[in-house]
C-alpha cells in the first residue's frame, strides 16, 4: 500500500471511530469555580447536576443514549472560563450547565453562542448575561436587578437605614449588584456615603472601614462573595462597628459562619425561597448528603438546571440547541424550587428573592 493510501485509510478509520464515539453518548458540560476562595460555593451546583444526570442515566439515559459528563474547573477567572468553553465545545458537548460566577458566564456565553451550544447557569445573576439577545443562554436563578432592589428596599423600609456604605469586589457580579443597590437606595431617599471597590484578593478591610466609620454610615452593603464577606464582618466588629451587614446571594454559604464563628448577627442577605421546608426537596437533600456531604446553597439549583435541560431535550427529541431552546421556553417546568418558566431573554419569569438572616450559625429565611 502506498503511504498516501495508508494515511487516508487511517484518517477514515479515525473519523469513523470518532463518529462512533460521538454517537453513543450525549455529552453535557458541567463547569464552574472549583479552585480558590469561591471553591466551596461553586462546587455545590456541579455536584447537584451530577446527581441529576446519574438519576437520568439510571433510568436509561436520554433519547436512547447514556449521558456523559464533562467536568471542567474555570477557577472563577474570566480568561480560564473562555478557554474552558472552547475545551467543552471541542469535547463535543451538546449543552453546558455553568458557569458559576457572572464574570465567567458572560464571556463564556459568547463562545457558546458562536458555536451554537446551549448554556444554562445555575447561579450567575448579573443582568448583562441575558441582555445581549443570545437565544441559547438561560439562567435558573434570579437577576441582580431583582435582588439588589429587594435588599435596598429592606434596608430603607424595614431597617430604616438613612446612610449606608456600599463596598464591592470589583467583579462583574459585585459591581453590577452594587450599582443596582445604590440606585434603588437613593431613589428611596437614602444616602450612600461610601461607594468603593476592593479587589477579590483583599483580606484587610481596615482602610475602607475607617472611611465607613468617618462617613456616619449605620449599615454596610457588601457586594461580593462569602469569604471576604466573613472577613469584612469580623473586621467591622473588631473596629467597633455595630450596624447591619447586608449582601446578596454570593454571601450565602455556610463557610461564612465558619469565618464568623457562627456568631454573626444583623446580617441580611437576599437568596431564593426556602426549599428546606418542601417535602420534594428532602429526598434530594438526603441523596446529596450521602454522596457529597453537606449541601451548598446552590446545590439544588445545579440539580434543577440539569433536570430542566434534560427534560427539554427529551421534549424536543433532539440535542440541537435551537430546538431545545424553543422547548425550554414553551412550557413551565417542575423543579424542587417550584414551577419555573423562562421568558424570551432566558431569565426566569418569576424569581422570588427573600431576605435571609444569620441566626445561631445558620442562615434562616425571615
Amino acid at each position: 500500500m502506498k503511504l498516501s493510501t495508508r494515511l487516508s485509510l487511517a484518517a477514515t478509520l479515525l473519523a469513523m471511530a470518532s463518529c462512533q464515539k460521538k454517537d453513543d453518548t450525549i455529552k453535557i458540560g458541567l463547569t464552574g469555580v472549583q479552585t480558590g476562595p469561591d471553591a466551596a460555593i461553586g462546587t455545590a451546583p456541579i455536584n447537584g447536576s451530577k446527581l441529576a444526570i446519574e438519576e437520568w442515566n439510571a433510568k436509561g439515559g436520554i433519547l436512547g443514549k447514556k449521558i456523559e459528563m464533562v467536568v471542567r474547573d474555570d477557577e472563577g477567572k474570566p480568561k480560564t472560563a473562555t478557554a474552558v468553553a472552547q475545551e467543552l465545545i471541542s469535547a463535543g458537548v451538546s449543552a453546558v450547565v455553568g458557569h458559576f460566577n457572572s464574570g465567567c458566564s458572560i464571556p463564556a456565553s459568547e463562545v457558546y453562542n458562536q458555536a451554537g451550544v446551549l448554556q444554562i447557569t445555575p447561579a450567575s445573576t448579573n443582568p448583562q448575561l441575558t441582555e445581549r439577545g443570545f437565544q441559547n443562554t438561560f439562567r435558573i436563578c434570579g437577576r441582580d436587578d431583582q435582588q439588589g432592589i429587594v435588599s435596598a428596599a429592606f434596608a430603607r423600609d424595614t431597617l430604616k437605614t438613612q446612610v449606608i456604605a456600599v463596598l464591592n469586589d470589583k467583579t462583574a457580579y459585585g459591581q453590577g449588584i452594587a450599582d443596582v443597590f445604590k440606585k434603588t437606595f437613593e431613589t428611596k431617599g437614602g444616602k450612600v456615603a461610601v461607594f468603593e471597590g476592593v479587589g477579590t484578593e483583599e483580606k484587610d478591610f481596615r482602610g475602607a472601614i475607617a472611611s465607613i466609620q468617618k462617613s456616619g454610615a449605620t449599615a454596610v452593603y457588601w457586594a461580593g462573595m462569602f469569604v471576604q464577606g466573613g472577613i469584612l464582618y469580623n473586621q467591622l466588629r473588631e473596629a467597633g462597628f455595630k450596624g447591619a451587614l447586608l449582601g446578596g446571594d454570593g454571601m450565602f454559604d455556610n463557610e461564612f459562619h465558619k469565618t464568623t464563628q457562627g456568631k454573626a448577627d444583623s446580617v441580611f442577605l437576599t437568596f431564593g425561597p426556602d426549599y428546606n421546608a418542601k417535602p420534594e426537596a428532602q429526598e434530594f437533600l438526603k441523596k446529596y448528603r450521602a454522596k457529597f456531604g453537606p449541601e451548598g446553597s446552590y446545590s439544588i439549583y445545579g440539580y434543577d438546571a440539569a433536570n430542566v435541560l434534560l427534560s427539554a431535550m427529551a421534549k424536543a427529541g433532539t440535542t440541537d440547541a435551537k430546538a431545545v431552546s424553543q422547548a425550554l421556553r414553551s412550557q413551565s417546568w417542575k423543579t424542587l424550587g417550584g414551577d419555573v418558566s423562562f421568558d424570551a431573554k432566558g431569565d426566569l419569569t418569576a424569581a422570588g428573592y427573600v431576605i435571609w438572616t444569620a441566626r445561631g450559625g445558620k442562615f434562616v429565611a425571615r
Binding site: A210, G230, I231, T259
Partner: protein, 301 residues
C-alpha cells in the same frame, strides 16, 4: 486619622518583614527570589497546622501553643527556604541571569499548586481561639482603636529588625554574609564558606517571612494557597522602593507602602489603593533609580 496611621503601620510591618527576604537574597546573589511570597504562605499554613498539632497533643494552652507553633512554623519555612536554594538556585549560580529567574517563578507555581492540591483549593480559617485573644483585646488611643495584635505586629517587627541589624553588623555570621555579598570570589579566598553564607541568607529571610505569615494569618483570619501572591508582590515593591539590596531600605519601603495604601483608601477611596502604590514606585524610581536608600554604585569595569 490616627486610626488610619495605625492600620497602615501594622500592614507595613508585614511588608517590611517579607521585603527583608527579597532584599537580602538580592544583596548576596543579585537575583530576585520570586518564590519568597510562597515561603510566606507556607509559614502561614505551618502555624495553623502546628497549632492544630499542639491542640491534639496536649490541649488548648494559649501562650505555650502559640510559642511552640511559631517555632515550628519558623523551622518549617526556614527549611523550605534552604531547600529552595539547594533545589532551584545553587546549580544555576554560574548560569545566565534569566535561568534562576525562571527557576524561581517555576518554584513559586509548584509551591502554590502543591498547597492547593495537598491542603485545600478553598480557604482555611485561622483558629479563632488563638486569634481572638489578640484581636479582641484593644485600647483607645487618641480616638483610635489599637488591638493587641497590631501592637504585637509592630513590636515584633521592631525587635526582629534590630536583631537582624545586630546579627549582620556585630557577629561573625554577619561578617561572612557581608563579605559574600561584596565579593563572592574574594570571600571564598579568605576562607569564608560562601555556600553556607548564601544558604544562611535564605534561611534568615524565610524565618522572617514565617513570622510575618503567622501574624497575617491572625490579622486577616483566613488563609489560602494564593495568599502569598499579593503580599509577595507588595513586599517586592517595597524592597525596590527602598533600594533593593539595602536592608534599612526594605523596612522603610515596607512601612511607606503600608501607610500609603491606608491613606489612599481613606482620602481617595479603596479603588485607588493599588494604583497609588505603583505611582509612588514609579515616581521614586524616576527621581532615584536605585530606590530611596539604594547606594550609588559605579559599574564594575
Amino acid at each position: 486619622m490616627v486610626q488610619v496611621l495605625i492600620n497602615g503601620l501594622a500592614r507595613g510591618s508585614v511588608y517590611a518583614l517579607v521585603a527583608l527576604g527579597y532584599t537580602m537574597v538580592y544583596g548576596i546573589l543579585g537575583m530576585i527570589n520570586f518564590a519568597h511570597g510562597e515561603v510566606f504562605m507556607l509559614g502561614m499554613f505551618g502555624v495553623v497546622f502546628a497549632l492544630g498539632l499542639c491542640t491534639t497533643l496536649w490541649g488548648t494552652s494559649l501562650a505555650l501553643n502559640l510559642v511552640v507553633a511559631l517555632v515550628l512554623a519558623v523551622l518549617f519555612a526556614a527549611g523550605w527556604g534552604w531547600a529552595n536554594e539547594r533545589i532551584a538556585y545553587r546549580k544555576l549560580r554560574g548560569a545566565n541571569m534569566l535561568a534562576p529567574l525562571s527557576s524561581a517563578i517555576g518554584l513559586s507555581i509548584v509551591l502554590q499548586n502543591f498547597v492547593m492540591l495537598a491542603v485545600t483549593k478553598g480557604k482555611v480559617d485561622f483558629p479563632h481561639f488563638y486569634s481572638d485573644a489578640f484581636t479582641k483585646t484593644h485600647w483607645t488611643v487618641l480616638g483610635a482603636r489599637i488591638t493587641l495584635l497590631q501592637l504585637t505586629m509592630l513590636g515584633t517587627t521592631a525587635i526582629l529588625c534590630l536583631g537582624l541589624w545586630w546579627l549582620i553588623q556585630k557577629t561573625r555570621i554577619g561578617i561572612s554574609l557581608r563579605a559574600t555579598s561584596q565579593d563572592r570570589l574574594a570571600a571564598s579566598l579568605m576562607g569564608i564558606r560562601v555556600d553556607r553564607s548564601i544558604a544562611g541568607t535564605f534561611i534568615l529571610g524565610s524565618a522572617l517571612a514565617a513570622v510575618a505569615g503567622a501574624m497575617v494569618g491572625m490579622y486577616q483570619g483566613v488563609l489560602a494557597f494564593d495568599s502569598g501572591y499579593s503580599v509577595g508582590l507588595k513586599a517586592f515593591t517595597a524592597a525596590v522602593l527602598g533600594g533593593i539590596g539595602n536592608i534599612p531600605g526594605a523596612v522603610l519601603g515596607g512601612f511607606l507602602i503600608g501607610i500609603s495604601e491606608d491613606l489612599t483608601s481613606y482620602w481617595i477611596g479603596s479603588d485607588w489603593k493599588q494604583t497609588s502604590t505603583f505611582v509612588i514606585l514609579i515616581l521614586v524610581l524616576i527621581l532615584r533609580p536605585r530606590g530611596l536608600l539604594g547606594e550609588r554604585v559605579s559599574d564594575k569595569v
